[in-house]
Symmetry: D3
């Protein structure tokens, strides 16, 4: 690691301060405000006692996600997608990623014929909104499942493992963990990694924004991600008091 200067003086392999607030809103079965530094995402988990057509009669449930960003979550105001009448490609890409990540740790048969919606809405953005969303959505999903067990709707948890996500990237030649917006804008390579509590990969999405990256750089990034996600999983456990 080199001596790249980061905000708050954090090290290249250091996460931003992470805060997980459960029960942030009152109506949802799970409601979590997750903060990665200045990035703040509200993740709610909602249970609906029916499934989409492709699961009807299968005995299996479904887990899906939607993602949104408040118009002024960012430095300059973005258009409201509801007003424009469509979700951007970026929004769809992110919500599909969150959904796949959640399903990777869910036993859909054990969930039964119900749907779990994870709504991830960015209140404030400073880089890493999709990784914060995945990490927070897991906690919200966990709370919703706990409620289903408490009411007797489920006998056992359909959750097979933790899942969390982090971004890594190379900025001015230095591999960094958990990019802030200014780092993300400046980086050559940007990678989002989703892993289980057991340290296995669920999703790896790396993009060369500038120069293409080498196998060696990739290995360094994956190692950084592995370290960060292990820490996030610990923080999830503390928040859920299951450590």
């Amino acid at each position: 690691m080199t001596d790249f200067l980061r905000s708050g003086g954090r090290a290249a392999d250091q996460l931003r301060p992470v805060r997980i607030t459960r029960g942030f809103t009152i109506h949802a079965e799970g409601s979590v405000l997750i903060e990665f530094g200045q990035t703040r995402v509200l993740c709610t988990a909602s249970v609906e006692e029916k499934v989409p057509p492709h699961k009807k009669g299968s005995g299996e449930g479904w887990v899906t996600a939607e993602y949104g960003m408040l118009p002024r979550a960012t430095h300059t105001r973005g258009n409201r997608e509801a007003a424009k009448g469509k979700q951007s490609g970026r929004t769809q890409e992110i919500q599909r990623l969150i959904g796949r990540s959640m399903r990777a740790v869910f036993d859909l048969a054990a969930l039964g014929e119900r749907t779990l919606y994870l709504d991830c809405d960015v209140l404030q953005a400073d880089g890493g909104t999709r990784t914060a969303a995945i990490t927070g959505a897991f906690v919200a999903a966990h709370d919703a499942v706990t409620k289903l067990i408490a009411t007797g709707a489920l006998a056992a948890s359909p959750i097979r493992s933790h899942v969390a996500a982090i971004s890594v990237g190379i900025v001015q030649g230095t591999p960094l963990l958990d990019l802030e917006y200014v780092e993300d804008s400046a980086c050559d390579t940007d990678m989002n990694v989703v892993m289980t509590g057991a340290g296995h990969f669920v999703e790896v999405q790396g993009t060369a924004e500038g120069a293409a990256f080498s196998r060696d750089e990739m290995d360094q990034l994956l190692a950084l991600a592995d370290k960060g996600i292990a820490e996030l999983v610990q923080l999830q456990k503390q928040a859920l008091q299951i450590a």
Copy 2:
């Protein structure tokens, strides 16, 4: 007034606890979280140095609003409007109301050729989201104007008066101030009133959900609204420390 039983034991003519948090998010020129009891709306004010076509070259500015509700702000999850690809009639009605209310206290010529966007996003709903939005948007707009003056973009404030809003209604024969969701669902008559700091009307929207209402009932409702809005304006002043 009769002895109708309200949550928290509040009187028929009593507001819910109101909380106004300025600077709730960091990017917007004005950012206010307003709470009317369990109703929580994030109001941001964004300044853009251009105007819509109908104001181009007029020397005047524009003030407009957009409104949204997070899918799980409510008891049961609602569809995400961005995913459905259109805003409901209700959403459009509300955001048009907020926009008109703000423009009613703005001197558009004094604002200059720039646009002030008020984004009102409901994080949690328990009745009165549109009146909370108007009351909070005013504070956010005030903060944005203060910033424009601080940077020298404006010499004087284009704001001519405070503006705030409250709902009133008749539930089981009793006129009530500031309806919660359960009261709103049960009410025969529902009225949203928007008034200036000087106690004049900006908007009055009354609807008989059940039986039509009499002139006498209307007079009682208007008096209640007058009382509530005077209190809200005081709370705005305290929040802005201009009391």
Copy 3:
């Protein structure tokens, strides 16, 4: 009242000439052309023997409205909403108002599980299109109900009262009844009032276009509306020959 000069020399508290032509088109169960001076709205009532999902199996019927304006109903041609692919916020606001107004005088249980559609299409606009639409739609709805009774589909009328609407406003300090387009454009305060045949309020929607208005002004406007609507109800009765 002051001596404000109105077209055709009408008094401040005088309606424009109102004409109600029943049976204007042949297919609909009710078809009424209503004219408020130069404003002409075609209101048709259509009966469909099914209800929307939220009423299915409830034993109750539904009454709803749609509103449209022909592109050249106005001074300058407006875009065709069907070609643009969406209804404006104004259109939706108006059709929701018409629907609520009609439902206010309908006993939905007595209507049975069927839907009454009121289509209000503006052929020519000169102010007051929504109030003319409500006043005419009631007559069309009445004709449709009469037909349902005649065919034996209904034993008794589900209509509990007349409903009519009028606009009032303050132009250059003078409260005026039934605003024409030029008056509407010039007015400071604009209020649309919907009342039943019994003189009770169904909807009150007042907006300060310029300066906010006082309680005293509001009282004057409500009195004017009360007078106008009483006259409109009489005209409805004459048209229906039930006076």
Copy 4:
């Protein structure tokens, strides 16, 4: 011709009663209500002093049309296209046909860089709405041009010829002129013909709804159309008092 029985006892080669009412509404530069029996179409002509992108700077004008049908113009209520958010293929086909037909008799260079919009809205439908629309739109366009000449905007008329349209079809083996709805529904072959005042073809659109038709049948239909259109052109001239 055989002895097919038509409503009102009209002959196989006889038009329905045609009524052309100019100045039906007040705002448009041309406004014509045209009636082919029970079919009633309101055709307005609007002049706009600009042209679409593909004509900008060309020195030429543009003539275009839009078509719509009120929801209850027909026996059973149809969906409102503005509410559905799109125009049907049928609607687009018809408005493109009207536009081409009008342009066929317009000298676009002589019109100058302005656009003439023809809005054809069906108030009541009983077959032949597109042919009535074309025939009426011509009269509305003529009135708009007369106004442009009167104001000095145009020195001479850009209209080179009359244009009118009629439907013809074969019902139970009998070729019929100007089909009503019941005839149209029953017919094997349906043809819409648009011709100029000089008796030349602008559009011929024939469709075999049932059995394919022979060259001989086509010749009979074209002869019928020729006769009908000559009569319509006479009626246009009478309406315009230029006979």
Copy 5:
């Protein structure tokens, strides 16, 4: 006929080289690449064992078509309709035409309650894409039917006749068969003719792009089309080896 010079030296009444390649793609029940000179259209026929709502329970099947053009099928790139979010009027007009043409030769009762989709996608355009599409779609439909008979799903063919289509037009006074793009752009009159194998008309769509055309010209064009379609039907039979 005059001595108009055509590409490849072909005569005024001569088709471009036509090539019909069956089995162009592997998944569809029928898949045909049809080439009219440089115009190339891929026509696939897909069988679905259900029918649209208006045919449900009727015992009859349905035949329908969709048409598309790849963005760079043309000289300059066109917008992708899927990206724009709607099909143009031209696209809808063409696919409705293809659908009607196919249904004209199908016995829908004999088809049984299933739907045959004809997808016609233009890979390369040089005039005549809709006529090539119809001519090729017939062959694809024929192959799909043969498969249904082979699998025992159908006992006999529901196809009553061949159907093919060709364009004809008048360019610089000369009637031409099968217009290429440059001819189509230059032509005064453009006619698309769809006929059955028995030489009867299914569709005739003639449009005067420039001067209106006379009855005599129409007769010449219809004769040309008749000749061309007879040749196309022969080519279909050769391709299907049923000559």
Copy 6:
């Protein structure tokens, strides 16, 4: 490698037969049909002498891509996105990936203020459509650039490197190169890798469809991809005759 049985008897680390046909259609500046076994994608490159708003005046050009699939490119017919009125999330994800991959090897400043559109349309699908699209689009882009140089529009090539893509995955414990549809459906882990001619990564997108995958499995997949892409780059060079 284990002894997994693949179609055509190919080895686990063997590509399907790849065919690259340049000049497949005539209008586009570059037009390539690329085949990976039964997967066939038509890639066209179109040059437009203007740039999107965010590049206007920057001196830089833009490279972007659109992706589509013909309705019957697949085993069962899919809905036409143009008819549905929107592109799926999958389509948007893929076309964004293709666009980023192309931009990774383009010097946008050297391209000048023009846009290069890559349209990738799947004629037939059997797995790997996005990787075939990227590999083929590069060849089409290269041809378009060659034409720009030939006409003098460009002095030197803005292409800095080859780019190609391949899928890899783990099926029943065996890492496989270049997955066909049946393999893709059965696989636990699916990864799409985009690399430059120099063997560096442009994009890595790995997804655990079933069980999460280990670091060791990832290393095996990346090695397979590296081998496959080196071969594809050779095939591109042969096709372009620049080997």
